[in-house]
Symmetry: C2
């Protein structure tokens, strides 16, 4: 955790001693009265907090926010709903890399039952996203949506965007050769058993280009991190040139 | 597991029913006599195996190897020794992406005690590397070495290679701008607390270029996967052009 995030309504109010952030400050970082640490306002600026007082019930903090945080990269990911352990890693790691939207989609070859995991209770997936932002020293977090089919997801995506889907079987492009045309990119990554023929047709109808990263078969979470890393580098190159 | 790997001395010998591969075939894939699956010879060709007979003690297989497997990408990774859970992910995921050598290094700001984990018993880390290769549908596996200091590792690296080290603080290059000069690349990624000043000096003396992937702070395992993905794309682009 490189920064600790607070919502606007929590700032400078006593932090309950059982809150996970209080536990982290006292048990992991072993902080005492007078110590200070990096703090952020969710979707707002970064700053410094100092510990004014610790008592049996709560911690009294004094926060000063002064540093604007850059916007998230203009990238959305669409991900075939994976097993809950993979989804946990994706939520945290992809958030740390930086995206604006995460769309999880139940795929034809996937398992709708994965949605029954307690991961998809608001408490857990939002906590993972927050951990990803805290890891990245960032206050901004992606939105997370879940869709029961690819079609319902495709209808909700940003219109003015480059659209890429990773596919080891039908790729016409190596992802490394991608050069952004629009300032926004949508990257789709399939789940364990890949896309069905119907889903491939849907992607084509929605103007997605099929890309790959070589012949090797990667787990969903590895493919998500690797694919996003390559797309983000293309965006950085673009913003450096401008 | 997309392919099941055997050593040369195991081929066409009865596979003990308690071997992890036998358990996978019978319990996970629910295979029966007459079924066949993808098989590979460690560091050799791929092929097909069929199940001739299953009895109480072992499985009798008939393997035919006919397909040559490409060499691994000419990339070596040097990684600051992370906590065992991170190291487990790295061993499996980085192997699935494809590298020739994995060097783990005890760093000045790291913890030598992580080496006491049972992960570093031969059984466990070799199993993870094998799982990474099986995931990637590949028979070739990287070598894994552990070094008690950066200096002792640097002396053992391939001489004719581009040398890059990821560092959020001292980078002069965005990793996306890297263009291979040599056909071989060494990529170094630090552990949780990063490199010490002494280690940075050592990297400079050994002709490493400092690179980053933007400002965001990533966990070691995320940085390893992301950094390697970008370097591998550069290698693919090179081999396409040739």
């Amino acid at each position: 955790m490189n920064i600790i995030l607070f919502n606007e309504n929590e700032v400078n109010k006593p932090l309950p001693i059982r809150d996970s952030r209080a536990i982290h400050l006292l048990k992991v970082l072993k902080m005492k009265e007078g110590d200070s640490f990096d703090v952020g306002l969710v979707d707002g600026p970064r700053g410094k907090a100092s510990i004014v007082k610790i008592n049996r019930c709560n911690i009294q903090l004094q926060c000063v926010f002064q540093e604007e945080v850059p916007q998230l990269p203009q990238v959305t990911m669409l991900i075939g709903l994976p097993r809950p352990p993979s989804a946990r890693r994706i939520l945290r790691d992809i958030t740390s890399q930086g995206v604006q939207e995460l769309h999880f989609v139940v795929t034809d070859k996937g398992e709708e039952s994965y949605l029954n995991s307690r991961l998809w209770s608001k408490d857990e997936y939002l906590r993972l996203v927050r951990e990803g932002a805290e890891q990245a020293f960032c206050t901004r977090q992606p939105t997370v949506s879940i869709h029961d089919s690819l079609l319902s997801c495709l209808d909700q995506l940003e219109q003015q965007a480059d659209r890429l889907v990773l596919d080891n079987y039908e790729a016409s492009l190596s992802l490394g050769e991608y050069r952004p045309c629009q300032s926004y990119t949508i990257l789709a990554v399939g789940a364990e058993r890949g896309w069905s023929a119907t889903e491939r047709d849907l992607f084509r109808q929605h103007h997605f280009l099929f890309a790959n990263m070589g012949e090797r078969v990667l787990r969903t979470e590895t493919a998500c991190i690797a694919g996003l890393a390559i797309v983000l580098e293309k965006h950085r190159a673009l913003s450096t040139r401008q």
